[in-house]
Each structure stands twice: as C-alpha cells, then as structure tokens.
Symmetry: C2
Subunit: 404 residues, 2 copies
C-alpha cells in the first residue's frame, strides 16, 4: 500500500507547480484534468434535476451529478439542491410524482403479504433519520488503476434528513416475517428496457436483516417531498449503508432467503481484488467505514490569506458515531485534535469539525482522519479493489494549500 501511495504522491509532485493553490492529492493529474473539463465545458443539469443549484454541482452525466467540495457549506445538513445524484438506470417518468401518496409497494416474505400505498404507509409510523447518503464509488477518482465508473472525488456524499415510516412498523402491520428469512430485498420501480433479461439491469438490492433496525421507507428529504431525482415518491433508506442499498422508487419490499439474483447484487458492488471481476464470493458493498475530509480550505481557485485559518470539514463514523477527529498541517507527519462543532445528528450523520490554525505563507498539506465509537479508524491508504469502492484513505483526501 505504501508504494501505491508514494506513486500517487510523486505524480502529484511532478504535476503541480508552486502557484497551484489547492487540489486533492493522490491521483492528482486526473483530478485536475476533470476539474478543468468541468469548468471549461460544464454540462447542463438534466431536466429532472433542473431545481439543483448549478453552481454547486459538477454534472458528470444525466445520471451522475457531484457536489463540489467547496459547496457543502458548514451547516451539517447538506442542502437538497446541492446533494449529489446517482441513478443506476434512467429514472421513471416524472408522472409518478403527480400522485405521490398513490404510489404502491408490495410487501412479501411476511405472514400477511399485501401492498401499501404511500398514504397507507403514512398511517403506520413516523421517524426522521439524519444520515450520510454516499455513493459506493465516492473517492473512485483516486484509485490508480482507473476503475470504470464515475470519477467522484468527495462529492458523491451528503448528510441529509429523510422522513418516513420505520420498516419495523410495516413488518408489524403484516404480522412479521415468514420463518427462515435472511435478507431484506428492495426492488426499484425503474422501467426495464424491452428485450433485456431484467436481472442484468434491474435495481434490486439485498441487505442483512440487521439493517431493518434503523431503516425507513421515506417520502421526505430535508423536510420536503422526496424528489424524483432522489427516489420519490418512496425510497427505502438503510442508514450506514452505501447509497445503492437505499433503493429508489421502491415497488417491492421482500424478506428473502437468498440475495437478489440481479447483476447489481451478484457481481456489481462487490469488493474484489484489482483485475478480478466481482462475484458472489466477494463481500457485498454494504456498511460504510469511517471517513473524513477537509472542505475549507479546498478551493483550487482561491489563495488563503496567511494567519489564523478555520480549517473545517466533515467526519462520519459509518455504522457508529464519529468520536475522534484529528488534522495534520504537514501531510500526515504530525496530527492534532480538531473540534467537533454544531449539532450531533446521531450515529449515521456526519459531524462538522474545525481546527483553528495559524498558517504561514507557503504551501501546506492539510489532512484529516477520524475514528468511530466502535473503534474503527480512517486509514492512511485506500483499500484497493477492482471497481474502486468505499475509498476512505486520508491521504487521497488531503488538500494542498497555498498561503500568501
């Protein structure tokens, strides 16, 4: 791992001059190229996301839109109009939002199988769950073997508040699960193109039953109707798990003995060695590990004024609360405790952190690392894997700052 890192660092040192202010390190040449392309040739927002703040996002494609690192704000909750978008398939027609309360979801693998409209689900229970929604591939841009997929840096993530009914309340209403079930399997309502084996494209994900505990079926995002772009009228939310497991436009909630036969479950979103395609024998991409990064300063177009600087960012614990946060001002040689500020929205949310530091003129490599309540720590290096999933290495997320 150390070797990979050094390669990354050398590449960075070879491609940056003294006046480049700030940039993600690691595979920096690529990140810079992407940044330049975005600025010179920005793609327009696709129609179903035209309510997003265009200045705060990078449009990679019609189904992949990233939050700019400088656009997270410091209010802990990511504004909906800046939240990333990632759809595995073309979303359903906007017509499904005309009567969101009429959207239907089947429930099976339970004692009394039936379907529920959203209106009916709203009578069963209510909870609001703050959580980090993060694409499995967030941080992929820094993998040196250039995995296919969107080249996200930090912006395929946001901390948002979903409102809906606890899955457990739905289970209670149908008499509980049938005996012997092992997974909770959610099917998305996207239209499957004709003439294709559905399992090759359908969005259907299975998660362990332990995920039921805090899962909800959500119809609101940040206090407003859940928009189509984020899975409205109804989305299952599996806190602590990567985004793909929170299936959008959910039309079927099944408790099953086996994992879904869909390709997105069987071979995609698997943690396989570089060069080896994923398969059922590899770990599924489910729970998120702890991770943090600095958002300010991080603007490559801005020079920071010498003197006192409030270095700030976000730290998430994954499946348990982030409890520790440290910042390095010299590329990871020395570390000091930073402070969590702002509200604590619970174990699945991220915390805002800040370190007040005096920065002298020159260049500085700023990094952060976190640890969670369960004792997991954010590592220095990404965990290499074929498709570039769950990158949480602090070195990749480091920023280089020019202070004048």
């Amino acid at each position: 791992m150390e070797e990979v890192s050094n390669i990354g660092r050398r590449r960075m040192l070879a491609t940056t001059g003294g006046v480049v202010a700030l940039a993600g390190l690691g595979s920096m040449a690529r990140a810079n190229a992407a940044g330049t392309a975005a600025a010179a040739d920005a793609k327009p927002l696709p129609p179903y996301t035209d309510w997003k703040d265009a200045d705060s996002v990078i449009v990679h494609s019609a189904n992949t839109i990233e939050t700019k690192r400088t656009a997270f704000g410091s209010g802990v909750v990511t504004p909906s109009d800046r939240l990333f978008v990632r759809n595995n398939l073309t979303p359903p027609s906007a017509d499904i939002m005309k009567d969101p309360d009429g959207w239907k979801m089947e429930v099976s693998g339970v004692k009394k199988p039936r379907s529920f409209t959203v209106a009916e689900l709203k009578t069963l229970g209510l909870n609001a769950v703050p959580m980090v929604l993060q694409c499995s591939g967030n941080g992929r841009a820094w993998f040196p073997h250039k995995p296919s997929g969107t080249q996200w840096t930090v912006g395929a993530a946001g901390c948002v508040i979903f409102t809906g009914v606890p899955v457990q309340a739905v289970l209670d209403a149908v008499g509980g699960m049938e005996d012997g079930m092992v997974y909770m399997t959610s099917t998305g309502g996207e239209e499957i193109p004709a003439g294709i084996d559905p399992t090759t494209v359908m969005v259907e994900r299975s998660v362990p039953l332990s995920a039921i505990k805090d899962a909800i079926l959500a119809w609101e995002l940040n206090g407003e109707q859940l928009p189509l772009a984020h899975g409205g009228p109804l989305r299952i939310i599996v806190p602590g798990y990567t985004g793909v497991n929170s299936v959008k436009y959910i039309k079927h909630l099944a408790f099953t003995k086996e994992q879904s036969p869909a390709k997105i479950q069987q071979t995609s979103y698997r943690f396989s060695p570089v060069g080896t395609p994923g398969g059922p024998q590899h770990d599924s991409i489910w729970e998120m590990p702890p991770k943090s990064w600095i958002n300010y300063p991080s603007d490559p177009d801005q020079t920071v004024k010498a003197g006192q600087v409030q270095i700030s960012g976000v730290a998430m614990g994954g499946m348990s609360a982030a409890t520790k946060i440290e910042v390095s001002l010299n590329g990871g040689k020395d570390w000091q405790a930073a402070q969590f500020v702002g509200p604590d929205l619970g174990p699945y949310a991220w915390r805002e952190f800040v370190l007040s530091a005096k920065l002298a003129p020159g260049t500085h490599e700023l990094a952060s690392r976190t640890a969670n309540e369960a004792g997991q720590t954010q590592p220095e290096e990404r965990a290499e894997n074929n498709r570039g999933y769950v990158n949480n290495g602090w070195r990749d997320h480091m920023v280089k700052v020019t202070v004048a």
Copy 2:
C-alpha cells in the same frame, strides 16, 4: 382568562358547520377569513424572496411572509424556501450581496474597538447553531382584542441551522468588553429614510449579556449563503430569543451600559397590559417560552380517513430543551404522552413529535402541550398583552379535525 377562552370557543362553535374539516380554534372566525383571503387573492412573492416556494407560504405583505401550517414537513429542519420572512424595515438593496465577504461590522464598547469584514470574521471561529427562529408576534391572530401587526397563526417560526462565528470569539479578538457593560446592542444595516428621526425606525436591539454565551454572527442559513431576506450578508443570532433580537444586516455590534434608544427597543416589543402602550417599564420581548403545536392533521381542505393516524407536530422549549410532550384528542380533557422522534438538535431547536392514535369518524379537537428541562410548561391560555406577543397557549393552537 377562562372567560376569554370561552368567548373564543363559542365564536368557533357558532361559525363552524359539520363539514368544516380543520382549523385553528380560538379566534377562528378571523383565522378562517384570513385563510379564505389568502386562497382567493394570494399576493405574489416580493422580488427579494422570489426563491421561496410560493405554495408553502402565505404572503401577508412585502415584508411579512408566513409558512403554511401544512408546509413545515417532518424533517425537523425547516427548508429555507419555506421559512417565514419578517422585516421591520425595507431590506437593503440586493447589491450588498454582491460581495458578502466584504460586508463590514463595527465593534465598540470593547477594549480594542475596530471593524471586521465578514472575511475577517471567518478567520476567528466557526459554529453551527440549530434554533427556532420565531417572530415575537407568532400566534397574534388569536388574541381577541385584535392587536395591530401581522395576523400570524403558527407560521412565523421555523427551526433552522445558522453557521457563523461565536460572538465570544469576536470579543476575545478585541480584548474583551469595556468595564461596566450591561447589554449587547446590535444595529441593522437598513437604510433610514431621509428626514426622519432615526430612532423612530432604526432596527437596533439590546439583549442582556447572558445572551452572548450561544450567540453567533452568521453568514450561512441551512448550509447555504445567508440570503438577503434573512439578514445576509451577516446577522446576529441570539438563540432562544424571539426573532427581532437577531438583528439582520448587522453593521454595528456594541456592548453598552444602556439599552438602545430606538423605538423598537424602548416602546415596541414590550409586554404591556392590553390597552396600555409599551414602555421601558414593561418587560422587553426577549426569551421565548415553551410551545408546541400539531402540524398533521391541520389542513382545512383535507378530511382524515378514519383509523390509525400519526398525529405529529413540533415542540420547542425556548431557552432549554423540550423534554415532555402530551397530546389530547378531546379538546384538552384528557392527555396522553406523545413521542419525540427524529434528531435532537439541541436546546434551542424544536423536536418533532408523534402520537399514533385511532380516530373514529366524527370531529375531534386535537391539542398538544409541552414542558422544558427548566420546568416551564406550555399553558392552556395565551398571556394577554397589548401587542399580541409570544402566544404559547395550547388552546389557541388546537385544531379541529373531521374524520370520515
């Protein structure tokens, strides 16, 4: 007080037929009239608020815009585009938002008086403060003596997250206060019309020094640049105090021995007996009392389906956390404990609450009451006062539901 309430109740009973589904009780005839007027003759959003969600608000005037009771959502944090607006003066030109970091604020009454730009304030510290922002006159519509001022029901309030620098950090940077100071006095940057004694219109408010503890100078609202409509580029935020004390476009922060001579401090926003104009001898409207209300069901145009219903709303503690919440299904005769759900954003925020109840066909009077950590309780009756401030009586906030 009981008599007033009964008058209100009788008026309500006299004006509602069996098919009216839902409405605030108390001075219900007036509330209904306002509702009808809003629907039939909705005013357009004034230009500086044209980014608001028109369907979620009631435009009373160019400077007073209310959140609809049905539009709070259940995500605890009120979306910025639904947040109420209340300006005491016409806001400054939108030009002041062209360079928000360049906005200047003087600091006086301190050891080393000086001015700070927002850019300079950003180097001093960072905190994110969730809090209920609530107009002093929220609930005024229910006062039977019809005080002048905007006839707000529940919607001149929202729970939002402001980000900025702690006032204490600014004080530390200027060597602390001069000796003998008693108040923190903030001056707004609105333009004062020519030929008028400034003290008659200027927005300048003094609060006790104890308010410094959690106060910030904010440049972000819910993670985005603080908009002009809400006091951008810079607003002082005094958590737990009514909105008028969180002065917008702050251009001067002074620590003073006396309260501001401005009319808005000396005679307005005073708790005086009905019929008696306010004056310095009356309590200033500062700290907020505990308060709660039901948001669902509350839509006068919607009939609720008989059976299980998730009755939900918000409860705030004022200066300390809301710790208890009860709901009555029969107009306050019997009470049962409701549940807080969703994240706890700290003592100045509100909590979402829910009671799962079975409602039979017919009409039901739904009420809620809360209590805070300090032991203050939400009373049955409003505290009568001349200008109709800080109404937190649960009877006024009750809703009448028709279930079929």
